[in-house]
């Protein structure tokens, strides 16, 4: 009987030891976009990991796909 009581008591006392911490770890770090994506949809014409190349590529794409005045001149 005593053993049963001890076992139940120990189980109740130690129950919290298995709980996960409830504290927030904060936002997971996010990799910069210029590092490139790990899939097969990456647009050609720029070098993943090269920020300047990525920026120039996006600017060129913006002018080519969204500025029709640059095409009509």
């Amino acid at each position: 009987m005593m053993r049963l009581v001890l076992t139940i008591s120990a189980a109740m006392l130690l129950a919290a030891c298995g709980d996960k911490l409830q504290t927030s770890a904060g936002v997971k770090s996010d990799t910069s976009a210029f590092q490139g994506a790990q899939n097969s949809f990456v647009a050609p014409g720029w070098t993943p990991g090269d920020k300047t190349s990525w920026e120039q590529g996006l600017k060129a794409r913006l002018q080519n796909t969204q500025n029709e005045y640059s095409k009509t001149k």
């Binding site: 936002v27 996010d30 990799t31 910069s32 994506a37 949809f41 990456v42 794409r61 969204q66």
Partner: protein, 206 residues
């Protein structure tokens, strides 16, 4: 590079909802959630104007200010993103947002435990760029693929512009000069500060 911005040219938007469709298709957004939608002002009245609205990725984002668990963060390019592993779905951001951007789906991978979902400027979230985990939680990361948001790239009339703020402003400024009217950019003052709000050029017939 300047920060990323959206501009919707109300003089050009024809309410085709191509941007809404492109967004839903690209990010596989579930039923009941519209990261982007088209709003028509004075619908049915001559001179009605339509604008495409989504998260504007504000300079001083109210959603970030009110979030009780700090799940929001801003990327180097000024894109406001959030971590769905931290979001508790309280909805405070929904009340704070002047654009009605935060969405709260009730089912599916986007909506487990009612976590908030919104436009990511096609920049994914805090998972490995281009990974399946990122796609399932946040949608495509087109910026990391060297592309711009699908909504703007699919816009048939080029009413919706997205990308580097300086370039976008230049394109829009050129249009206003060419047509001589329609310099008011809906939402810019709210999102990026009053100095950013479009003002008609002196002598323009706006």
């Amino acid at each position: 590079m300047a920060r990323m911005k959206f501009v919707c040219d109300a003089e050009r938007c024809i309410e085709c909802n191509g941007c809404v469709t492109a967004c839903k298709n690209e990010n596989e957004v579930p039923w009941g959630v519209n990261r982007r939608r088209v709003v028509t002002l004075n619908d049915g009245v001559a001179g009605e104007k339509s604008i495409s609205v989504a998260c504007m990725h504000c300079s001083d984002a109210p959603c970030m200010a009110v979030c009780p668990v700090n799940c929001f963060y801003r990327t180097e390019e000024g894109v406001v993103l959030h971590d769905k592993d931290i979001c508790i779905g309280c909805g405070y951001c929904s009340y704070a947002c002047p654009f009605g951007a935060p969405q709260f789906p009730s089912s599916g991978t986007f909506g487990v435990r009612g976590k908030m979902d919104k436009c990511t400027f096609c920049a994914g979230g805090p998972e490995v760029n281009g990974s399946q985990a990122e796609f399932e939680k946040y949608g495509r990361n087109r910026l990391a693929e060297g592309k711009l948001p699908a909504c703007a790239e699919m816009c048939s009339t080029k009413a919706l512009l997205a990308g580097d703020g300086d370039v976008v402003a230049d394109i829009f400024r050129n249009r206003v000069v060419q047509r001589g009217k329609g310099a008011e950019v809906w939402g810019w003052g709210t999102a990026y500060g009053s100095r950013q709000a479009g003002q008609p050029p002196a002598g323009a017939k706006s």
